[in-house]
Symmetry: C2
Subunit: 457 residues, 2 copies
């Protein structure tokens, strides 16, 4: 791979969680003589944000296990870490950034040769939130996670605003700690990124497998939170009111693009930073990767914004290779995701049926429930699988699977097919592994494809 012969190139990375940390590590490996700096306003770099719900729930006790690479490890490899140093402005014409040291309030200009924006995403804070109330939490940074766990210990009843992935993971964490939980979600069911025939089953499972501790209020929103001495009063748009000890706002996230926008870096239609497949922004020598950057959906070829840790890691690697003078491309995302709620696995890839219809596909779908392994094996469980295809091309557009059985395996299997536009007929030909402890002799994927094929003709 041809590398830039640049003895003292300075690479500056803003943000150091997943994409930023990956960019730094890979850049330093590719160009050992380059100066590599990470600037972050946070206290920590390189941690698994996705792991915080499991730390809160008690799967492990020490938050330091969430640290992928410590500041000291970075510095040992020659990467300079500037925590609590906020980049407040980019001056592209001068190739400089303006840095504010949060502890000393000092300001400084720093020059860069290559700048990588890995600023991530911020929690969306609805208007009703009064930031002065201590009992209101979000969950984006490791500091948030540590605070939330401490707060949870004092609470008896916790209210979650929003019903996305993190909300579901937090219900599990709270129920495992014997907390009562009320969740308020505007959609008819939790996990509105799934089709309702699937998300309704998830919601049913949650309500039935939470020791009676969970209440879900659908099709309503929180309109007001009042400080009632030691508790909070929550009031919803429909006029419902209740007391709670603590509120966690998980009402979505938005890309952290303020300094990029201020510098004239072009944003895409989703509001995230527009990048090409080499993670280059509209301004030379400025790259973006991770949650602040827009992605391309590999099925619809439309811009999407899907902030996920796995994507951030891959983009950070591609950014580093291009920053260092190599050539690598990030082709896009499929919207693959997985989460668990207690014993239930919930997974998806590609387009949902509602996405597909919105995008103008002639979508046809099948939903089936089948055992995940041979019926006589003691550990057999069910999976419910939905596959969506396009009636015109017969191409599979996406799939969703839930179940206490191995749902995730089936979704990953389809996701690789989606890369190459697999058709329903081709999926029937899939030669999947079979043994009684692992699947049925005709796997649910094949059964679903066979039914879907019959619907296509």
């Amino acid at each position: 791979m041809p590398l830039i012969n640049n003895f003292c190139m300075r690479i500056i990375i803003i943000g150091g969680v997943a994409a930023g940390a990956k960019t730094a590590a890979k850049s330093k490996r590719m160009l050992p003589d380059a100066e590599v700096h990470i600037y972050t306003k946070d206290n920590f770099v390189s941690y698994s944000a996705c792991g915080m719900p499991y730390y809160i729930g008690g799967d492990f006790q020490d938050w330091q296990q969430l640290i992928v690479r410590t500041k000291e490890e970075f510095e040992k490899s020659g990467i300079q870490i500037h925590t609590r140093e906020e980049v407040t402005k980019i001056l592209p014409a001068d190739k400089k950034i303006v840095v504010k040291k949060l502890d000393t309030e000092e300001w400084q200009f720093v020059e860069y040769d290559k700048l990588v924006l890995a600023t991530g995403a911020n929690a969306f804070i609805p208007e009703f939130v009064n930031k002065d109330m201590k009992q209101i939490y979000t969950l984006r940074t490791l500091d948030d996670g540590i605070a939330l766990k401490a707060g949870m210990k004092e609470a008896e009843h916790i209210t979650i605003v929003g019903g996305g992935y993190i909300a579901i993971e937090l219900i599990e964490a709270f129920v495992k700690n014997k907390k009562r939980v009320t969740l308020v979600e505007a959609a008819p069911f939790v996990l509105s990124m799934l089709d309702e025939d699937i998300s309704s089953l998830v919601q049913e499972y949650i309500l039935e497998n939470s020791e009676g501790l969970v209440k879900i209020i659908n099709e309503d929103t929180v309109s007001e939170i009042l400080d009632a001495d030691r508790v909070l009063d929550v009031i919803t748009s429909k006029g419902y009111g209740f007391e709670t000890d603590m509120v966690v706002v998980t009402a979505g996230v938005k890309p952290a693009v303020d300094i990029a926008k201020d510098a004239g870096v072009e944003l895409g239609p989703t509001g995230a930073i527009k990048v090409n497949s080499r993670m280059e922004t509209s301004i030379p020598d400025i790259y973006a990767c991770g949650d602040c950057a827009e992605k391309i959906n590999m099925i619809s070829h439309t811009p999407v914004w899907l902030p996920l840790g796995s994507t951030a890691n891959k983009e950070g690697r591609v950014a580093a290779i291009n920053v260092c003078g190599g050539v690598d491309d990030f082709e896009g995302v499929l919207g693959s995701a997985v989460l668990r709620y207690m014993a239930l696995n919930i997974s998806k890839t590609g387009l949902t049926e509602k996405d597909a219809l919105k995008l103008g596909y002639d979508a046809v779908s099948v939903v089936i429930t089948k055992r995940d392994k041979a019926g006589y094996m003691p550990e057999v469980k069910n999976i419910t699988l939905k596959i969506i295809a396009d009636r015109r091309s017969h191409k599979i557009l996406g799939a969703q699977a839930i179940g206490c059985g191995d749902a995730d395996k089936r979704i990953n299997t389809i996701s690789v097919g989606l890369l190459q536009g697999i058709t329903v007929e081709q999926l029937i030909d899939a030669d999947l592994t079979y043994a009684p402890p692992f699947s049925t002799s005709i796997d649910i994927l094949i059964s679903a494809a066979q039914i879907l094929k019959s619907k296509l003709y």
Copy 2:
């Protein structure tokens, strides 16, 4: 789907385990007015042969759980089941078969319109086996399985001849029943269908996780078994001798093709019945499917013989559709397989490195070990993954994975990519699901593909 307008068509299927049972059921659904018959010399039809090791091991206690569909259920749906009726000859010119009723020794001619050979495979019995010795067992039919479990109960030390999939599943079954096991395998390690860098790890795991009950003799074969009153004396080619209570011969299987061959049905280079993608043999109106039929390897496009239950089910379905006047194709196999030994999952798809080299590919491979989920999750385990690619086309040729972690998931994921000739670069783009309980943020598949890519340039 256009169906033959044949009110009283008679479909005769020889063999009723997986492919035969599937052909019968699907044919009757497609042509309710057709006469559908299954002839088998065995006592049972439609059972899960693959489940027998788990019955023997004690995962479940009642062999009737292995029955997929009872004789009564078949007959209720109008399918006529003739157990203990052996088809001894096919007369293609007259479209008749000759049937011998095993209980009454009666003979009879039966006419067919369509004949489906689903005769399966027989255990390969080496020359040293004296069939009169009661303590020598094989494992193909349900009767074999029931007898083997009963025999095991009386034995203290069991010898297994051969070290393939079934042998490994049987070691697990025997060790779970506290039996001492000696296995004799001609190859340097068990599971010679894997590359040795992987199979050596499997063998190591078996020896270390069997309560000291298992001994494996490699690079040697059994040459003689002598009846020494209540025990057997086993003597190997290298002159090693030991006493044993019972011998299980799992030294391979061969396609059951005698009556086909006798009738002039063309066999392929593998010795199995040659079929096209519609499961048609060389003789009109005679079809073959399941373990007696040859398959095409979808990667190398060469004929192979891979007797597997999942394939048999798919072929049975395709045979039925074509028998009934529809059109369907079976495209071939990838050699996907999975088995477990205690907590170890062992899985493969596509070509091994040794297969690939034999077939003339310029094979390049990577073997890596990585965690199957986030390191801080309590249930984290390792997987070792090998991926083989072709240096010229960059196409992935195959993969093998073992580990107490979720190895099988990764192999199924690759197997769907193989259907469409996925390249190493494309696999890097795979958007796999990520959450800490399910994978690392960069899944082992992606890590392996990244390393393999660097080896290709």
